[in-house]
């Protein structure tokens, strides 16, 4: 086990609990996303809906290494990150349903999940557009002289976008405490990495900006945790950015309107990657180490299923936003008013 390490078979009880928690978080994201897909197909969820299935170890692993006062921003495939950051499945599902009890009051939807109390500062919908925001949060941290970190998740397709380069240049130049997490799932929508990117090895982009970079196996939770830990330590002191290229795979289509395989990838390819399901790999590992057994996993599954069903029931029954909410939150309330 990479970080922290269990030296003996007699795993420390706290650590074992932590490992089980990670497993539960990944299963929660998986079942939540399956439920989201169902709800979308039933017309309960509108707009776009991008599922995170297959990439769970990235959000869970990276966010496990952050403190509550660290900042997190991500792209539009953000359900998994929100859950891993501790937003309740109820608040996230209610947001997907567009309900007033949603984490963004039903005004953001699937692509714009926010929880300021957890410093979860958004899902963002323009590819690459949020990467400079993370640099700005890193700037603010350095400005104030605290030991916080900003973590920024984006897909590999964003690295061909100017915003990525402009942000990484400034982060490298000013040594900002930012962990740039490129979730390389190999496809920008339907365009494969090698059809879009001149240099296949994305982590090498970091060298242009004097930035430490690593390639990480994103299906192996322990690898994600270890690499993130190194990056976070560097960011807190002496304040240095890192580019993590975390190689992963999306088991579903780009969005709910995109089939799992078809024009741009084969069924066989998807099957190969499914064998390296991050939840499967992590469960096998924990079982091998005696941290959990099949009965324990079944119990966990049942409790997750109940939690996700509860979130869906909650979202179903939650009230719609009042119509006068249409015009609130455009500007700050006038001082002296509510």
């Amino acid at each position: 086990m990479a970080q922290p390490t269990t030296k003996s078979k007699k795993a420390d009880a706290t650590l074992a609990q932590q490992y089980r928690d990670y497993l539960r978080q990944m299963i929660l994201i998986r079942r939540f996303e399956e439920k989201s897909g169902e709800a979308y197909s039933l017309g309960k969820i509108g707009g776009f809906c991008h599922l995170y299935i297959g990439q769970e170890a990235v959000a869970v692993g990276v966010l496990s290494q952050l403190r509550p006062d660290d900042y997190v921003v991500c792209a539009y495939r953000d359900h998994g990150h929100a859950l891993a950051r501790g937003l309740s499945p109820r608040a996230v599902m209610a947001e997907l349903y567009g309900k007033a009890a949603g984490c963004s009051k039903g005004k953001g939807g699937s692509m714009h999940l926010f929880d300021a109390s957890r410093n979860f500062l958004g899902g963002h919908g323009i590819v690459g557009g949020h990467i400079p925001l993370a640099a700005g949060m890193g700037f603010a941290i350095k400005y104030r002289g605290t030991t916080q970190v900003a973590a920024c998740f984006f897909g590999e397709a964003a690295v061909n976008n100017g915003a990525f380069h402009e942000a990484l240049n400034m982060a490298g130049l000013w040594k900002l405490p930012v962990v740039f997490v490129c979730e390389n799932n190999r496809y920008g929508m339907g365009t494969a990495l090698d059809r879009a990117t001149a240099t296949y090895n994305i982590s090498e982009r970091g060298s242009s900006y004097d930035m430490i970079r690593e390639v990480v196996d994103g299906q192996d939770l322990s690898e994600v945790i270890a690499a993130t830990n190194r990056a976070v330590v560097r960011a807190r002191k002496p304040s240095a950015p890192t580019l993590l290229e975390i190689r992963t795979y999306r088991f579903m289509g780009h969005s709910m309107s995109d089939p799992i395989h078809g024009h741009y990838r084969t069924k066989e390819e998807v099957e190969v990657h499914r064998k390296r399901d991050p939840i499967l790999l992590w469960s096998e590992r924990l079982k091998a180490e005696g941290v959990i057994d099949d009965a324990g996993i079944q119990e966990m599954e049942a409790s997750v299923q109940a939690e996700v069903q509860d979130a869906m029931d909650f979202a179903e029954q939650a009230p719609e936003p009042e119509l006068d909410e249409l015009y609130t939150d455009v500007y700050a309330p006038v001082k002296g008013e509510a």
Partner: protein
């Protein structure tokens, strides 16, 4: 009252706000060591140091986004664009990030930021360096748009903009930096969203802002010589628009000419006309007329450039037409 330039009035505002609030910082190209491309930030690096007066690479989209990110977590950035022409590279951050963050987060995350710099045409800078973008930004809910004409308004409005909890687009007049005017001593602010009558009159209302205020005042002077009394209203803030001040004037004068530097199509004047025809239709004695920049990219040639720009003669002509005088 001390007389200072528009440039120095802005400098005073920056200095005073940075002294008042340690979360305010200035970021942009050449703002520090170079002392500002237009010297608005002269002397600030010496007083506040490089952590708060931050020189950036030429990377408008990037540093606009850095500003928005810093504002999301509680700082109050002032982002200087060397000119608003270059800000087109940053418009995704201004519109998709700054303007929408509060709304799409359900009110949780505001962006208290000022984007500022010079706009409008100077002299023979040709198509890419001679543009007035007020109406483009004013189109977007979530943004406030300010464009002061005088040193006093420049100072008072910039201070208000820095204290505002929402993103403010602050468009200075490139040709106004050397204009001198009285600026009150001591602490004062001009509220965002209030127009001002810059010259009282009772036969026609000339609505203007930024550089066209000087043009309108010159036109009013000429018209006075012809026995025509023109009221000049400086909008000062484009969004939110001070409709009440405009309408009160229209109800007295019954005739309106709107002057703006920008292009005519979907311009500020079009918005003002919309308000007037809805709220004061029966008060009008003549169609509302607009004087705008020509509907073309700005030419380089001096003679063509002059023909493309708003000037006092064009405003005088429009006023005469509105009064049905020869």
């Amino acid at each position: 009252m001390p007389v200072v330039t528009y440039r120095d009035a802005l400098n005073q505002a920056l200095r005073e706000e940075m002294r008042r609030d340690p979360s305010v910082f200035l970021m942009g190209e050449e703002v520090g060591v170079y002392q500002g491309a237009y010297k608005v930030s002269r002397g600030l690096l010496e007083e506040f140091g490089p952590n708060r007066i931050v020189d950036t690479p030429i990377t408008e989209l990037g540093f606009a986004g850095v500003g928005v990110g810093a504002a999301m977590v509680g700082l109050r950035p002032i982002i200087e664009f060397m000119t608003w022409n270059f800000a087109l590279l940053a418009i995704d951050q201004v519109i998709n990030s700054a303007a929408k963050m509060r709304y799409m987060s359900g009110g949780q995350v505001g962006v208290p930021i000022v984007f500022r710099g010079p706009g409008g045409a100077a002299l023979q800078l040709a198509a890419q360096h001679s543009q007035a973008f007020e109406s483009m930004y004013a189109h977007v809910p979530g943004l406030k748009v300010v464009a002061p004409a005088t040193p006093a308004d420049a100072k008072g409005l910039l201070k208000s903009a820095v204290r505002d909890d929402d993103p403010v687009i602050f468009i200075e007049g490139e040709m106004l930096y050397n204009v001198k005017g009285e600026v009150p001593e001591g602490e004062y602010t001009v509220p965002i969203g209030q127009a001002e009558v810059k010259r009282a009159g009772d036969q026609v209302t000339i609505v203007c802002h930024s550089k066209t205020v000087g043009v309108a005042l010159a036109a009013a002077e000429t018209l006075a010589g012809e026995g025509i009394s023109a009221e000049v209203i400086d909008l000062r803030t484009i969004r939110p628009l001070d409709e009440a001040t405009v309408l009160a004037s229209v109800r007295r004068t019954h005739r309106v000419v709107i002057a703006e530097e920008g292009w005519p199509f979907a311009g500020i004047g079009a918005q003002v006309v919309d308000t007037i025809q809805r709220e004061a239709f029966d008060d009008l004695d003549a169609p509302v007329l607009r004087v705008t920049g020509a509907d073309v990219p700005m030419p380089y040639n001096k003679r063509l450039e002059k023909a493309a720009k708003v000037d006092a003669g064009k405003v005088v002509e429009a006023v005469r037409k509105s009064l049905y005088v020869e």
